[in-house]
């Protein structure tokens, strides 16, 4: 039967053993894409959704109308956050391999997305992150100890042991609880933003979804409700090209950019180089100002590459060319910002080494602190009684009885 088939199947550029081929990635030269006024009507800037906003050129210079003109100190903070995110990821990956946590997901190569976007927003803006946005936690200053405690499900875990590793939250820092179910938070962020508008507050909501997850119904719900009510929300699609083993073409990326869905719903759509810290910052700032001043929602597609395995349960060598990430045409976000800072005389190899050492030490000392709250096998442990709490605000009779039954079972 397969001989006769006329079913189109998206083209996957390189499987294991094949030569990486990123010619499908449509690029615009740095500085080439115009920057419309923030209150421009969506229909009057359609090309933003298929072009690629870039600020850093190949020489490490920041060019063009999207150049955000950040202070060097801010750029250094951005670099620090990205580096810390990466070192934290590396260490947690090794710790998972050593069997000390059950699961982990790195954001290797995508650090600029969370860090630049997080920095472009206000602390009172509400974040609805995905599982690969640890950079947002770093930007918002969540202590590594707290993140690690969550990974350990220990007595300091903000989730009280209920969630899989990486599903952090922080009420105090306006970071919503991450769900293991893909895409569900995308329309919730829109609801949050609708409430902000109803209350007449000018906070903005921001949410992140993988390009693979954009296939879910909730992506549509999010775009639709945001468009209908012109909600003050920033809707981000992190297009890191892969959804576990599935190439972005299977989420619709073969036919057109993900950013182009925005104009389809009558909202602004922008495609941006996700590995360009300055471009990501500028675009996010633009979208936030647009949302805050009543211009409505923006859909941002961040074009990046998943440098590592999907998770510690995954082996990408089974489905993509081994050296893929090295050929990724948009480079590494940390190296690119570092090169820019050096270029403008605000950074050096030596300072970078020193920062690296400082942050590695921070990660190491944090881990020590975290394990003192207990590990999967040693030290203090959460009381199993607590597993019956928070199903409801008050524990109903049947859960009280089950709690008692478990106590008996374990005695």
């Amino acid at each position: 039967m397969s001989n006769k088939s006329r079913l189109h199947l998206p083209h996957v550029p390189a499987r294991p053993g094949e030569t990486p081929d990123f010619s499908y990635v449509q690029q615009s030269p740095a500085g080439a894409v115009p920057r419309p006024e923030v209150n421009t009507r969506a229909r009057d800037m359609l090309s933003l959704s298929t072009d690629l906003v870039r600020v850093l050129n190949d020489d490490g210079q920041a060019v063009g109308p999207w150049h955000p003109h950040l202070d060097a100190a801010d750029l250094q903070v951005g670099l620090r956050h990205m580096l810390l995110t990466r070192l934290f990821d590396d260490r947690m990956q090794r710790i998972q391999r050593a069997g000390k946590i059950s699961f982990y997901m790195r954001s290797l190569g995508e650090e600029a997305v969370s860090v630049a976007q997080g920095m472009a927003l206000r602390p009172s803006d509400m974040l609805f992150p995905g599982y690969r946005n640890q950079g947002l936690q770093v930007v918002r200053g969540i202590p590594l100890v707290d993140l690690m405690s969550q990974l350990l499900s220990n007595t300091n875990d903000m989730c009280k042991g209920r969630q899989l590793p990486v599903m952090y939250h922080s009420r105090a820092n306006n970071i919503f609880s991450i769900s293991g179910n893909l895409a569900t938070q995308f329309p919730q962020a829109v609801g949050w933003a609708m409430a902000a508008a109803i209350k007449g507050e000018d906070n903005v909501a921001a949410t992140w979804i993988g390009e693979g997850s954009s296939a879910e119904a909730d992506f549509h719900h999010g775009l639709l409700f945001a468009s209908v009510y012109q909600a003050p929300v920033i809707l981000n699609v992190v297009n890191n090209q892969w959804a576990i083993s599935t190439f972005q073409g299977y989420a619709g990326g073969e036919q057109r950019s993900f950013a182009a869905r925005g104009p389809g719903y009558g909202m602004a759509g922008i495609r941006v180089d996700g590995n360009d810290f300055l471009a990501v910052y500028a675009v996010t700032q633009w979208a936030a100002e647009r949302a805050r001043t009543g211009g409505g929602p923006t859909l941002i597609e961040l074009v990046t590459y998943r440098g590592a395995a999907h998770s510690t349960s995954d082996d990408p060598a089974r489905y993509r060319a081994k050296d893929d990430a090295e050929h990724w045409p948009l480079g590494d976000p940390i190296l690119r910002l570092k090169a820019h800072l050096i270029k403008i005389g605000e950074w050096s190899e030596e300072r970078h080494q020193a920062l690296n050492a400082e942050l590695e030490a921070l990660v190491a000392s944090s881990w020590k602190e975290a394990v003192a709250f207990g590990t999967m096998t040693e030290g203090p442990r959460l009381d199993a009684d607590t597993m019956f709490e928070d199903v409801f605000k008050e524990m109903p009779r049947h859960l009280q009885r089950q709690q008692a039954a478990l106590r008996q079972e374990r005695s």
Partner: protein
Amino acid sequence: MASMNMIQALNSAMDIMLGKDPSVVLMGEDVGYFGGVFRATEGLQRKYGEHRVIDTPIAEGGIVAAAIGMSVNGLRPVAEIQFADYIYPGFDQIVSELARIRYRSAGDFFAPVTIRTPCGGGIRGGQTHSQSPEGIFTHVSGIKVVMPSNPFDAKGLLITCIEDDDPVVFFEPKRLYNGPFDGDPNKPAVPWSAHAKGQVDEGYYKVPLGKADVVRAGAAVSIITYGTMVHVAAAAAAAMNVDAEIIDLRSLVPLDVDTICTSVKKTGRCVVAHEATRFSGFGAEILSIVQEECFWDLEAPIARVTGWDTPYPHAFEWEYFPGQARVQAALKSVMEPA
């Protein structure tokens, strides 16, 4: 006290809560300008504004998701799903999100959303306007499930649900909107004005969750039921002249096990009745609890009265509906076990 049908009582509950608490908002398909296809929100947009009583796109999943986000930002959304048959596109948001947010965030976030939805048959709605899916939701940890059987309870329960910090699915047996219904479609319709529970306090009051109502005390048999079947069961027992104790659960989660078991321990006989399909319906859970807790008191097998395990067919609405004959057969089996 005023005479109200169930729609008016629900409208009154929402009116009061909109007036009392600025964080309450209503949302749903056709609920705003039009006032809802069953008119439950009539007049409320005019009174409280387009930003408090919000028309939405036809996307149940989006409605629930937006309501969750709004609730996390301090509002108390009351979302209408136009028919319970159409709650399924919102199922993932209800089960995986609404029911889980408090638990997975260890109480740091919670989502006080009330979902109102008309359920049940008897209005010639066919298979897609007649379903009673409450049983499914009772299996989902973290969601409260409520179904009133009369205007007085409907209003008091709805106010309680809106003020509750946990999410609730609030089922409204649409056959009861205009009057109590004893299961006989050929009898002239009875309005709520002729029924004691159609006399409703016009002000603010609450009916608690997790507290069943003993509609009729009796010694011979306990009938555990809720929604439309409360009235059908009462009529069936009266017609048979059985001294039945009739318990209207009102809230299925949390469940008032004490009232149920006290009754069965007293009567030694039990019939469980609901309109929903039988297999794995909520009746099975009630029966199980009674069996587990009252086994030694039972003098006959507990019997279930339910809809059949088919969709609700348009042409056979009354053959499908568990009317008095089906209740009576069950009562008979329990009173005179073979």
